[in-house]
């Protein structure tokens, strides 16, 4: 081991760990509260009995099953839409030359700054005019064409060697055939990365669904949780903590299992 590789000193190690503990503290506190009877919500006793009752109570107090279903449908719709729409557009930008191309690409990139999240008032009016308010489609629709996705996939497609495409054309592939047989398989890691980023964004999205939904049949988990915790029910923090963890759990568990893939996806999606 060279000098450059020497392990960091004790102070740095302790500092890093203190920061880590500080960082996990709010979450750990919520976990403690959710798994113990209300009486122990704010009393720390290592011998306090563990319980799942808070989860049962939360599950019965609000239609979380339905909310979970709604979120799953929304996230799936967004992802399917994004994959289709962004792949086609990225292919056109990466491999075709047509008049007005750079202007169009600049217009697409505008959405990186001006996201649908900001244009809530006008987008609500559009949904109202289309008669789509309070539908699952209305939650998903504004996000299906994503500048981020188009940009990311275009960058990836541009690295595909032209020779592969030419070979496929010689074999008799149509343009869409080339996209499907050559580009998409080669870009698979990027699709995975983009998919993970997209799913975690839309699983957690709140403001737009809050505005455009107003019934149990359409509300995603995030909005359902907000409605549940704001209704006056004597604020039982144990039950609210349980509900909070339940809402975050699917993504959190997926993250803990596929930690590497998650971290690498966020890196890959950000770096290009």
């Amino acid at each position: 081991m060279s000098i450059a590789d020497r392990p960091p000193g004790a102070i740095e190690t302790i500092g890093a760990w203190l920061l880590g503990l500080l960082w996990i503290l709010p979450l750990a506190y919520a976990v403690w509260t959710a798994f113990h009877p209300s009486a122990y919500a704010t009393r720390f006793d290592l011998l306090a009995p563990l319980t799942l009752e808070n989860f049962v109570a939360a599950w019965q107090a609000a239609p979380f099953g339905r909310y979970l279903f709604n979120t799953t449908v929304i996230v799936t719709m967004v992802l399917a839409g994004q994959f289709l729409v962004c792949t086609l557009a990225a292919y056109a930008f990466a491999r075709y030359r047509f008049p007005g191309q750079s202007l169009l690409f600049a217009l697409v990139l505008m959405q990186l700054m001006v996201m649908p999240d900001i244009l809530i008032v006008e987008n609500y009016r559009t949904m109202f005019a289309l008669g789509l308010v309070d539908t699952l489609g209305a939650v998903a629709l504004p996000y299906m064409a994503s500048a981020f996705g188009i940009f990311l996939l275009r960058q990836t497609f541009m690295t595909v060697p032209k020779e592969l495409e030419e070979a496929a054309i010689v074999e008799g592939c149509s343009s869409l055939g080339v996209l499907w047989r050559v580009y998409v398989p080669l870009a698979r890691p990027v699709f995975v990365a983009y998919g993970l980023v997209s799913v975690s964004y839309h699983w957690n999205n709140f403001l737009w669904p809050l505005i455009v939904t107003n019934s149990v049949e359409t509300r995603p988990l995030t909005v359902g949780l907000a409605v549940f915790s704001s209704t006056d029910q004597g604020i039982d923090w144990s039950i609210i903590s349980a509900a909070t963890l339940m809402t975050a759990a699917p993504l959190l568990v997926a993250f803990l299992i596929f930690q590497r893939a998650f971290v690498q996806s966020f890196m890959r999606a950000g770096i290009r």
Partner: protein
């Protein structure tokens, strides 16, 4: 393939994206500018053109100025804090620390939680008297504090939540960049006798500049775009102390249903984002060392 056919193919491929982008980004943005020049239609009264009247109302609206000031403060504290912490975290995880995988998880986990869940967790954390924060401070004999209910502390309490949520996200990008720094550089610096601090300041930091730019742009957008926690934790209160621009737009648009004034406010937000984009492209890009 002829040029005409190529163009037709390309336009068909682009059609779905163009239609959706236009419908939910470009057209609404233009309609926002136009809507800001009219009154809000109410019942049978249609919208009337009023020119810049809405902007005059805006200039005289103390809540608007309060929201702007809040947002500037919010950005000015959240961004540097979360970016510096992200860098510290990345350096810690990149070093050969014992248990660095667990550490990375501790830093990154808040990022995967929904902001609503985060807001609930922190609401509890901040609860006056029996929340963990007051309990810990109580051990040191400090009195209980209504962190979110007091004008003096509410904005800072909300800022802490945003930093907690975002730092781990930015850490990932720094971590990725750190791993691309060639090892020979470190060896060369060690042979030259450079201290670790000098190495960090003269080598690591300049090499991280593109990442810093990327992270900064994201952080700035985030500071104006993410208000989920405000909705759940404070509803802009107390007394508008935590009202951010987008939250104020939400209130005007969906609690008071004043779409013209909401459009005026949205125009201001769009102008801020346009200035940021211009600064990013014209100014920052030139000062960055690219590999």
């Amino acid at each position: 393939m002829s040029r005409l056919r190529t163009s037709i193919h390309a336009s068909l491929l682009l059609l779905p994206a163009v239609v959706l982008l236009a419908a939910f980004t470009h057209v609404p943005a233009v309609r926002t500018f136009i809507g800001a020049l009219y009154t809000t239609p109410r019942g049978k009264r249609p919208a009337v053109f009023v020119g810049l009247d809405n902007y005059r109302q805006l200039l005289d609206d103390p809540v608007f100025w309060q929201a702007m000031a809040n947002n500037v403060w919010y950005a000015a504290l959240t961004i540097p804090l979360s970016v510096v912490l992200a860098l510290v975290m990345a350096l810690a995880v990149d070093a050969r620390l014992p248990g660095r995988a667990a550490l990375r998880m501790a830093y990154f986990t808040p990022t995967v939680l929904p902001m609503i869940a985060v807001a609930n967790i922190w609401l509890f954390f901040y609860t006056p008297g029996y929340g963990l924060l007051d309990q810990v401070l109580g051990l040191f004999g400090l009195p209980e504090t209504n962190w979110l209910g007091s004008r003096d502390s509410a904005l800072y309490a909300v800022i802490a939540v945003a930093v907690w949520k975002e730092a781990g996200f930015f850490m990932i990008f720094y971590l990725a960049a750190l791993q691309t720094i060639p090892h020979d550089l470190r060896e060369a610096a060690a042979i030259e006798g450079a201290s670790r601090f000098t190495f960090f300041r003269r080598v690591t930091l300049p090499l991280l500049m593109p990442t810093t730019l990327f992270v900064l742009v994201n952080a700035v957008i985030g500071a104006f775009r993410l208000v989920d926690h405000i909705v759940v934790m404070t509803r802009g209160g107390p007394d508008n102390a935590t009202a951010l621009l987008l939250y104020y737009i939400y209130e005007i648009g969906f609690r008071f249903w004043d779409s013209a004034y909401a459009a005026t406010l949205t125009t201001v937000l769009l102008a801020i984002l346009a200035v940021l984009a211009a600064v990013q492209f014209l100014f920052l890009e030139r000062r960055i060392h690219y590999r």
